[in-house]
């Protein structure tokens, strides 16, 4: 299982802040996990398909498409940050 967190615009559009997900065997990295979520269609496809509108972290470190995702990881998807 992985914990997947959603923040800000994504949290609102997807209607969830977090979920526990059984990793499909084919998923080895962030790109694969994102593709699996896009496959749900609807708001998931709309919010997660365009990668330039979405950032991600694995275990609380900024991550890129080829960052490995393993059982027990905490993955987060969110819009580009706007603090300060």
């Amino acid at each position: 299982m992985v914990t997947v967190l959603y923040f800000a615009r994504l949290r609102e559009a997807l209607g969830t802040a977090s979920e526990q997900l059984a990793l499909p065997e084919s998923v080895i990295d962030l790109a694969g996990l994102r593709q699996a979520l896009v496959g749900r269609g609807g708001a998931w496809a709309q919010e997660l398909a365009e990668m330039n509108r979405v950032r991600a972290a694995v275990n609380q470190e900024m991550a890129s498409a080829d960052t490995p995702v393993n059982d027990g990881d905490e993955v987060a998807f969110f819009p580009p940050v706007t603090g300060g």
Binding site: F7, A8, Q60, P79, P80, V81, T82, G84
Partner: protein
């Protein structure tokens, strides 16, 4: 080195006084305060709500301070970032850097702020007359952070 995420306001004078107390090696303190503006993208903003990713926020700011310490003489550093509901004229963020000399304090303070804008997981939602909207990231902030990669030490 201290990083605090809080809903409460902060007092710049009290924070800098606490930093220089008992530390006579400090010769310069640079501070930056970010404040909520009443206008954004041409619309009046009545209120804004700041959301963050707990733990990752603190970690990412600690890493940014670590990078600043590797480049400049930094005796002490403090970042305070508020979350929750804020109104125009409210303080949002405080960066304080103490160094032996002003050059390091100014540079490290600006570096930490520029990197915080593009790396630390905070998101702003603002309320205007048209309703609430998430603030989009600005390309200008990426440019501000990237220029530190070009500058010599």
């Amino acid at each position: 080195m201290t990083v605090r995420i809080q809903t409460e306001d902060f007092d710049v004078g009290a924070e800098t006084a606490a930093m220089r107390k008992d530390n006579p090696s400090i010769g310069a303190i640079a501070s930056f305060v970010g404040v909520v503006r009443d206008m954004n993208e041409g619309d009046a903003v009545s209120e804004m709500t700041l959301e963050h990713y707990p733990r990752m926020t603190e970690r990412s700011i600690e890493q940014i301070i670590g990078q600043a310490r590797a480049r400049w003489n930094v005796i002490d550093a403090l970042v305070v970032h508020r979350v929750g509901v804020l109104k125009p004229t409210d303080q949002i963020v405080l960066v304080v850097i103490a160094s032996a000399h002003r050059g390091d304090a100014f540079a490290a303070c600006e570096f930490v702020m520029d990197y915080l804008k593009t790396q630390a997981p905070f998101w702003k939602k603002e309320r205007t007359r048209q309703g609430s909207r998430w603030v989009d990231a600005r390309g200008a902030d990426d440019v501000a952070a990237e220029r530190w990669q070009l500058k010599g030490r």
